[in-house]
């Protein structure tokens, strides 16, 4: 066992580092420090993506013929590490390039692929995924957005929710119901749509955390051509599974403070019987968080090892978000309680660690739900990893229109 690159990997890392040293500096000189979620930040992100694409560092595992790097999964991981180390990496393209465009590549005709893949790789166009609805979160296939055939077109009405980046995206993949007379999984059809169409309206969701990173998207008589269909009519679920297979790779990664920050806080604060860091109950929690965080880090190393050996990684990476989301919530709460009465303050100028723990406390509930709830992820481990049977399906043979819906 070791943590070293193979000679080929080391050479690739060296090359990537040299390229980053030169280009990251130039990128910074050009754009400076920018606030996320501003038009300037987006412009910088697009510029960086184009720079990477020109050098073969965007979509590294995709064939060079379609704008990718023609590289291996381990090279993609290595470049991602080095890009992170260089303090770069914009999140705008993750869902599009990780989930949407691969779906387009799998199901669209060659003309459509030719039109969209390369601009997406270069960051010229950004994609979003329109699946979740008010009546279909974990149970995505319960969605109600209707698409009705009208000659060579489809007319779409309905609403999506929790769509990341809908307000800045150019295109999206949209899962609709085309046949309510058959059981729910069988009446779905997937389309790609133009997000800038006047019949598409994005409204930001005011989250409990105070931010507005996600959207509701409304469709009012949106007309799309039949050629925008991805997959056969009624095969939408099959198409969606291809998208979702990529979700666990695209979503995840823990945001917010980790055990190091909470340890530093404890070193700085007074507890009931001396410095907070000397509190035995806290020390035991800290040890548990360390073990979990490092466990995830070394689990990623195991995944990398499989990639490095040219093997398919095992299912172990599926544990990531269950652990990181719950840990973030518990750690944030412990930190806030450690601040005692002061913990109620949320102004970054006043709260310790620039209010990182207060912000995490309010963000963590969303993290436990986004991209698969704790419960769905445990079902996935139980069914796909351990091979246990699926739940009893009372809606399997019932036409969608006859399904009880509650409120």
């Amino acid at each position: 066992m070791d943590f070293n690159d193979s000679p080929e990997e080391a050479a690739y890392r060296e090359k990537a580092r040299a390229w980053l040293a030169e280009n990251a500096a130039a990128h910074r000189a050009k754009f400076g420090e920018l606030k996320p979620n501003t038009p300037e930040h987006m412009a910088a992100a697009k510029d960086w993506q184009a720079t990477k694409a020109a050098a073969g560092y965007a979509c590294i595992t995709w064939p060079a013929a379609i704008g990718g790097g023609g590289g291996t999964p381990i090279q993609s991981v290595i470049f991602g590490q080095e890009e992170g180390r260089a303090g770069l990496g914009y999140g705008y393209f993750t869902i599009g390039l990780g989930m949407c465009v691969p779906t387009v590549m799998a199901f669209a005709d060659s003309e459509t692929k030719k039109r969209f893949v390369s601009p997406a790789v270069k960051g010229e166009e950004i994609w979003c995924q329109l699946f979740s609805e008010p009546a279909g979160g974990s149970d995505v296939a319960a969605l109600r957005t209707r698409a009705v055939k009208d000659g060579d077109e489809w007319v779409i009405n309905g609403q999506k929710v929790w769509t990341t980046g809908a307000h800045y995206c150019d295109y999206g993949i949209l899962l609709t119901r085309t046949d309510p007379d058959v059981p729910k999984h069988k009446g779905l059809t997937m389309f790609w749509i133009d997000m800038k169409d006047a019949a598409v309206e994005c409204r930001p969701i005011h989250q409990m955390s105070g931010g507005r990173e996600f959207n509701e998207v409304y469709f009012t008589d949106l007309r799309v051509k039949d050629s925008q269909r991805l997959g056969e009519v009624g095969d939408g679920w099959k198409v969606a599974l291809v998208t979702l297979m990529n979700e666990r790779l695209a979503v995840g990664g823990s945001a917010g403070p980790n055990y190091r920050e909470v340890m530093k806080l404890a070193q700085d604060l007074a507890g009931p019987t001396g410095p907070a860091i000397k509190d035995q109950a806290f020390r035991e929690k800290l040890a548990d968080w360390y073990v979990q965080s490092e466990g995830l880090k070394f689990t990623r190393f195991r995944t990398m090892t499989a990639l490095s050996r040219g093997q398919t990684p095992g299912p172990e990476s599926s544990i990531g978000k269950i652990i990181s989301a719950n840990q973030l919530q518990e750690m944030a709460n412990t930190a806030v309680e450690m601040e005692d009465q002061y913990g109620i303050l949320v102004d970054p100028d006043q709260a310790p660690a620039e209010a990182a723990f207060q912000q995490s406390l309010m963000w963590a509930p969303g993290l436990r739900i986004a991209g698969g709830t704790d419960e769905i992820l445990k079902n996935i481990i139980a069914e796909r990893v351990l091979g246990l049977p699926g739940d009893v399906r009372v809606d399997k043979d019932v036409p969608f229109k006859d399904m009880p819906t509650g409120r």
Binding site: M1, E9, L296, A382, L388
Partner: protein, 371 residues
């Protein structure tokens, strides 16, 4: 990045599993469990010696196979999975590893070949009563090379030939090598929570004792020995935890209630998913410990602590929830769940309880931050 067993190590692990399937089935374990006069299986011990496992990490010049510690971890994982009723940890992880790390050339030459040949069973004697033994409470004394005092409990102390004993000489704690087959040693077998592993009270009365390592450094040496042992024990715990998850899964897939297999109920599925998550966290931390152990890395104290904490938690959780999944059958003597429940306690207690290791981990992190 090469953070997994190599193909050769996987082959060794597969071979170990095959050997144990043939020589350590549950009848062998129960042969010790159900017989108060036995605390290990002599035939399996002999077989393990013949396989070369006792000397796996002992250099060839001392009669061992000269393999690395990762190979020893692979063997440990399989022994844990099989709840092997043998004093392997006491002899190999503690005595052999302890002498290799802290013994003189003479001590190495005298003991290691005999361990490799299966002629010596070892044990570690530190505890003197309930709670944690410390420099201020240590009672055992050495005067003029003679040891006196009582150690209780000593894992494998009832069958061991040689002990490493923590005792104080003129106020200076040290670690002493003591032949247990001499006049000044009296032993009494005690009842254990895990009857498949032996435990004893040992009374020393002027027994000849030979120091291992520096005088005054006894507690540090014991900690260093336990750091190494903790990694290897973590692999035994991991093997046991994996087996518990398998048992729970197999049972849940075959057991019907309310008209369908219980494996289809979310309450069961989520329980098993929780086991899987903890086992993978334990595996990843154990691998890091294995790397630190094999490379003699300065990170070993932190890596060993994390490996032990994660593996103790995983095995405890898997062993108790395995019983729960089995329902009333799981509470019977005849179903094997309790073998793992008992072993999970034995392994968590034998080298310092997890609470101690959590404290050690945080202390080490503090030191690292201060540096």
């Amino acid at each position: 990045m090469d953070f997994d067993y190599s193909d050769d190590q996987k082959f060794l692990k597969d071979e170990a599993r095959k050997f144990l399937a043939g020589h350590c089935d549950v009848a062998v374990v129960r042969g010790v469990l159900d017989n108060a006069d036995r605390s290990f299986d002599e035939k399996l011990w002999k077989g393990v010696a013949e396989q070369g496992w006792l000397g796996a990490s002992i250099p060839e010049e001392h009669g061992g196979l000269g393999l690395g510690r990762i190979e020893l971890c692979a063997i440990a994982e399989e022994l844990g999975r099989a709840v092997a009723p043998i004093p392997f940890a006491s002899t190999v992880y503690i005595l052999a590893e302890g002498i290799m790390a802290h013994g003189t050339d003479g001590q190495k030459a005298a003991i290691l070949p005999r361990i490799a040949a299966g002629e010596v069973i070892g044990c570690l004697a530190t505890s003197e009563g309930p709670g944690v033994v410390g420099p201020n409470t240590l009672q055992c004394r050495v005067e003029g090379g003679k040891l006196s005092g009582t150690k209780i409990p000593v894992t494998d102390g009832d069958v061991a030939d040689t002990a490493l004993v923590l005792a104080s000489d003129g106020g200076r704690p040290g670690l002493y090598l003591v032949d247990l087959k001499q006049a000044g040693v009296k032993r009494e077998t005690l009842k254990s929570l895990d009857p498949t592993r032996g435990v004893a009270k040992i009374v020393f009365d002027g027994a000849v004792a030979e120091r291992v390592g520096e005088a005054g450094a006894g507690f540090d040496i014991v900690q260093a020995i336990l750091d190494r042992a903790a990694v290897l024990l973590a692999f035994e715990q991991l093997g046991g935890a994996d087996r518990c998850l398998e048992m729970a899964k197999e049972y849940a897939l075959g057991r019907y209630a309310f008209g369908r297999v219980i494996a289809g109920y979310q309450a069961i599925k989520h329980k098993l998913a929780d086991m899987y998550v903890k086992n993978e966290v334990a595996r990843s931390n154990a691998y890091y410990g294995a790397w630190a152990l094999n490379d003699d890395a300065p990170e070993l104290p932190i890596a060993a602590s994390a490996a032990r904490i994660a593996a103790s938690e995983a095995f405890w959780f898997a062993s108790k929830e395995n019983i729960q999944v089995h329902g009333g059958m799981g509470f019977t003597w005849d179903v094997d769940c309790h073998l793992y429940y008992r072993r999970s306690r034995q392994l968590s207690l034998v080298a310092g309880a997890p609470k101690l290791w959590k404290e050690r981990l945080v202390s080490e992190l503090e030191k690292k931050n201060a540096a």
